[in-house]
Amino acid sequence: MVGYTAIVLQVGAVVAGAPLLTGLMRQTRARLEGRAGAGVLQPWRDVRKLLRKEPITPVGTGPAFRWAPPLLVATSLVLAVLVPLVSTDTPVRARADLILVVSLLALGTLALALAGLDTGTAFGGMGASREMTIAALVEPTILVAVFALSIPAGSTNLPVIVAGAADQPARLTSPAGLLAIAALAVAVLAESGRLPVDNPSTHLELTMVHEAMVLEYAGPDLALVEFGAQLRLTVLLGLLASLFAPWGIATGASLTAVLLALLLVVLKVMVLGMALAAAEVFWAKLRLFRVPELLAGSFLLALLAVTASYFLGAEGGGAR
């Protein structure tokens, strides 16, 4: 019973909080840039207004264009159910495999890329091409980082990894843990389309990656695309928080622990979001053909994490 409550609370927090997180990040950037900003609730006003606008299906587009935004949001919702943000003892704990999580993220990206190609415009194709190139290059980093994380835990099952890290904090401060954090942080930036890989607020088509695919969307479809992107960012930051700062997560069947964990994860994700927004003030977007170098660097970090995990004999790893 408590497990189901945890899931409901988790999904509710993610759904309600994703636009708020984006709003918070925009406010942080605004304040650092000396502006007043539109307020934390602005993304919710955007979504509400977009839902009330006229839906448009341009001539020449097809089912891929129509169904990509709902599919994107659906994959993000399934992820919000799977990723253990609030409790590791939920009814879906046996199904929350980290490789599955990574693959569902890739499915969302793929759906949007197909939608971009379905428009038949040059922008859509360009965005799809760039997005798939980056997604292809980020896969090795993510999976090898998953490998590094699963060595001390003995499994790729997310609740097991998170619970293990909560029990033994030394895993996270070991060289392997720190390297894995760095690698996954870069991978999260690439997956969620933030600076320095992609600028989500650019108007120059030549610099667009994600934006170019969605130039054709309007009204409720656009609301779903924006909401889906916000959900993905929230889930990814929540995943980072669970993996690398799991303290406070509920491991048993106690309602108070679950509520406390909810509060803590909201706080952690807020801190991560604000830190990311502050960092973005200092970063410029990388040239498109510099991004593979960044991703190769993060891949190297992930590989080093695995090697360190094995050779430096961290918790349970090494010769067993």
Binding site: A30, R31, L32, E33, G34, R35, A36, G37, A38, G39, Q42, R45, D46, R48, K49, R52, K53, E54, P55, I56, T202, H203, E205, M208, E211, L215, E216, Y217, A218, G219, L222, V281, F282
Partner: protein
Amino acid sequence: MGLLRKIRDTGRVAEPAPPRPEGEQLSATQEFGGSVQVRCVDAGSCNGCEIEIAGAFNPVYDAERYGARLVASPRHADVALVTGPVTRNMAEPLRRTVAAMPEPRLVVAVGDCAINCGEFAGGYGVEGAVCDVVPVDLAVPGCPPRPDEIVAALRRVTGR
């Protein structure tokens, strides 16, 4: 770290918000509910109004705090901010841009040229004012209009 120090020393640049502009409420404002996406269309201007629009969105005037945001495509937009007299070559693109916007949508003519061709009235390349090509809902007179006047017009649309 120089940038960090500069941020700390500069502090807040945005001027305090002036009082809400007067004027009858536009019917679309209720629908928008405080969130308006803006697409700028240069139909043939001298760029003076563009610079003032850029000024309206800069940290000093900060039009974003009232809920207005610039977007990259008319499909994402609610308001088309049209500047300049409409030249012959830009007449059809302007119509198509406004047609691409989903309902409810507004067209705001910024600057004297957009309202009545201003300096360029009668020129051989000029098709007409914006209202000759697409229906205009709001006008911001001036050559160029000051950023706070542009912000006031946007505030009438967002209602904040």
